[in-house]
Symmetry: C2
Subunit: 404 residues, 2 copies
């Protein structure tokens, strides 16, 4: 008799953004006349840049002729894309990462969910709290997190590293020693960052205890300050303790195009075992490569035209971020983030819970945000707004919040 993976049944409720989607759909159905502004889910709204559109059309044309048709992609991604990534994201920043350490995928969500698979079920994970839910949920599904405590809303076998106003939203080294450490900077959801010097402390710590850092740098394109690292490989010793995840979703608007990559340095080991061949084996066995046309679009991100156009796109969103940050500050909200990240993190007013503020904002201002508690217990009493709306909608949302 077939049996299910019981770990799935331990997951409380549904995935955060599915829940938000359902709540918004229900409100819309009941109030069809209300125009809702969505600053909740981190989805982009600006169209793809012209250089990317040109690359897509060109690649589609190639697929129309037998001589230039492309079937199965190389397991780990096309050389043209891996070379562009290695040069632009790493070598040009002084990071020692080569093309054959880059694994192209269909996005950082999949990679951040799948990466735990190559590790033992005994490994203890440490996560920032609050944090992008996929890190914990994927480990729950694998059976690595122990039991759920509905009172504290925590898992018994997860090491939570609170990130709150008290520590300026930067995690402290954990008191229990973890095996896998998920770090995300610029952070989702708080929009906070740490300096290169602070990140070096984590790299040194991981090397000293034999832990692996899974470093999610999906938002690096939004960094505006000098001393904030774009890659963990800017730190000395990261090649022996860190895997880095990157996405094209936010720097190039690929949320609906799907492209990302993972860096696994050749000398990175867990115990005595090299991780590069393990992740390569997973790719080879369970994945079939990102679409050729999408990989060509990714290549265009690194062209001179693409770079210039995307700098403008990021600046557009960061203008929104500044508008939200300044607007809410003026209204008396306690606000952080928004300087090196497209996320603004605010303290809910009047001691409302995160979900109370969600409902309040949806009903009174018809604005959708994301409840901080959905990212972990220390997110309770906080709320995330994103800069990914249009400028007009962002300004309109602020005006509605002001009137609220």
């Amino acid at each position: 008799m077939a049996k299910v993976n019981d770990n799935y049944l331990k997951l409380p409720g549904s995935y955060l953004f599915s829940t938000i989607g359902k709540k918004v759909a229900a409100y819309s159905a009941a109030n069809p006349d209300k125009k809702i502004i969505r600053l909740g889910i981190g989805d982009v709204t600006q169209p793809l840049a012209p250089a990317i559109i040109t690359a897509l059309h060109g690649a589609v044309d190639e697929m129309a002729h037998a001589e230039t048709f492309h079937g199965y992609a190389p397991d780990l991604g096309y050389e043209f894309l891996r070379n562009a990534i290695a040069k632009n994201d790493y070598v040009d920043r002084g990071c020692d990462i080569s093309a054959d350490e880059i694994f192209v995928s269909d996005g950082a969500k999949c990679d951040s969910a799948n990466i735990q698979e190559i590790f033992s079920l005994d490994n203890k994970i440490a996560v920032c709290d609050p944090v992008y839910p996929v890190y914990v949920d994927s480990n729950v599904m694998a059976g690595r997190t122990g039991t759920w405590n509905p009172q504290t809303e925590t898992w018994s076998d997860v090491i939570y590293m609170p990130c709150t106003a008290e520590n300026n939203f930067a995690p402290e080294l954990p008191s229990r020693t973890p095996d896998l450490i998920y770090l995300c900077f610029p952070n989702n959801p708080t929009g906070s960052t740490i300096t290169k010097e602070e990140l070096q402390v984590w790299v040194d710590y991981a090397n000293s205890v034999g832990a692996i850092i899974i470093y999610d740098a999906a938002y690096e394109a939004y960094i505006s300050e000098e001393d904030v690292p774009h890659s963990i490989y800017e730190c000395e010793g990261a090649r022996t303790c860190a895997i880095e995840l990157r996405s094209f979703s936010k720097n190039a608007g690929f949320t609906g195009v799907r492209l990302g990559f993972t860096v696994v340095p050749k000398e990175l080991k867990a115990g005595d075992t090299f991780l590069h061949p393990l992740w390569a084996r997973r790719h080879g066995t369970k994945y079939n490569g990102a679409p050729y046309i999408v990989q060509r679009a990714g290549e265009a991100v690194y062209s001179p035209e693409g770079k210039a156009q995307l700098r403008e796109q990021v600046a557009y969103y960061m203008k929104n971020a500044a508008a939200i940050y300044d607007g809410l500050s003026e209204m008396g909200y306690t606000v952080s983030g928004g300087i090196n990240a497209p996320y603004i993190w605010l303290k809910t007013p009047d001691d409302m819970t995160s979900w109370e503020f969600f409902d309040y904002l949806l009903e009174k201002a018809n604005v959708v945000g994301t409840p901080g508690s959905g990212f972990g217990p220390s997110g309770e009493g906080y709320f995330r707004l994103t800069a990914f709306g249009s400028y007009e909608n962002t300004v309109a949302a602020l005006e509605r919040i002001r009137r609220m």
Copy 2:
């Protein structure tokens, strides 16, 4: 200290097609003057059909404008595609499958590798032998297969169902009772099929023992005979015992475009637990949807123009299949498959092993095929050729084999 998933270390050697790729690359490097014809990996060679190219260009143009830009796709796929699939692949064939039972993905390889995740690690799997390696390998990685016996080349906890000339390449009901049964018809690699009546026996068996059938129908477009089912849901009772996997790779040439889907009927249970919400949860947590432009390309597969063009494309490959089948038969080879599938399965001559014949064919004829033993122990002494080359290359390969 981080530790790896030891199950990965149990996998003998590398993924079959990676090994072939390396052998061919080494031969090419040593013999740069030889023109190699590849009838090995099941990759297509014909360009995308015009209707698909038009749909791709149209969708790319949509992504260039804010009003028609598409960000994150719905978790389970766009309605327009799920509706087209439900109507054309199921309702029109008399199968009771609705759009909300269809989960759109980036291909059947990923789905066939990931589907085991929603089941208990205690579950015993049964596979045809020989078979597409991903079914077993993904279960090895999960830790469901016991220990590897290098003498027999089998896993202690896998139930192998031999498919050889003796049983006309159709598996018999296993003597040990499995929990999960992987079936693939038309079969990869043997090219064999079973009738609807024979498949009904499997459905009845699965329902009687509480097993789940994972039915891989990636090659259904190649079926030419009347009594061969295109879907397991043509059988009575399949909704309570079967998951079906489908691909756009072979019917529409999407090996480099990446699109597939999985059907999980709403009433399908393992024990007391419905599987539909579990697979939905996996999609929602660990996957972010197939690209919008690719889903529009998938929709075009079901347009009147798309259907007509793809019928021609399938006919083109089946002409190759007939040429290989007839050509090898004339040369005295023992051949099967090729009638309802794009694969021709041949007995190696002179008691060569499969890999011996691989090397022989590569060196003497510069033709690449796939060793049967790579698909399981009962594939030893067999060899797979695919019909996915160009007609010119297929004819040229046959001429070389004739001269060999």
